[in-house]
Symmetry: C2
Subunit: 143 residues, 2 copies
Amino acid sequence: MSAAEKKPDIFNERLNTLGFRFTPQRRRVYEVLLGKRDHPTADEVFVRAKKQMPEISHATVYNCLDALVECGLVRQVQLDRGATRFCPNMREHCHFYCDDCDTVFDVGLPVKAQDGVALPKGFRAKRFEIAIHGVCADCAKKD
Amino acid sequence: MSAAEKKPDIFNERLNTLGFRFTPQRRRVYEVLLGKRDHPTADEVFVRAKKQMPEISHATVYNCLDALVECGLVRQVQLDRGATRFCPNMREHCHFYCDDCDTVFDVGLPVKAQDGVALPKGFRAKRFEIAIHGVCADCAKKD
DNA sequence: TCAAGATTTAGAATAATTCTAAAGGGTGGC
DNA sequence: GCCACCCTTTAGAATTATTCTAAATCTTGA
């Protein structure tokens, strides 16, 4: 085990509290997401993870992503008909998707998301996902 | 042409203004969505459309759904890793997804969605999609 | 040290969506 | 009304995304 893997950190703690095991694959997948915050798809994570861990398999990447989502280290982002994307920014924010260049931007949320919504009686909300579709500044200039 | 198809209505108008042609397939797909507002997937729409139009093909349903989305008669809803769902309710609202029973509910939005969000300079928003994940009243009772 | 259970692996299987090429159909110009 | 053009539909193949399977490996606690 490397020094980084030995000392308990948020990564390790979160996995443990929910009964998940620490594994090098899960750490690698998490590092990939932290390394380039461009909201990659599972397949893009797979390609990046493979560079430093050539034996890692496709199914493992899905498994790891699911585990990270379940223990609250990563968010799943559903933006269009294409593949699901993943995001390690757990602060409250929403996603801006540029329909022109397919880029995803994190956008802050000054107001608490749930304030605008009146749920029917008895409904319990666990999480809010806000997606904004439009054109980013660069693409708007080009038009 | 049936009487219903002859007289111009919102369906016909919307298609025409964007250069789409009126077709019986497109009408049928729209009727399916209006008929049972349970946020079906493309495949579910296909199955329902087939009942009254057995020759309709899978690709046509995708084509029709895309056309209806483009001319603003239908919304696409992305909720989880599964298939895209479709919704003919164009009033401002958001979607509540029950993680237990996989049902989708339309929820009103008293506050304008964009009020809570500060977009970076130059960004132009076209539409907001708000998804709430949680447990519906019925499932909450069962727990 | 061992057993139990979690995790990884490769590859097959399934699901969702898009593509392709040929046929059909409507519309405007003549 | 006829023709050419272009949009649309069709069946089925192809592609993409995700899940499943069974065997091997690893971790942990008794």
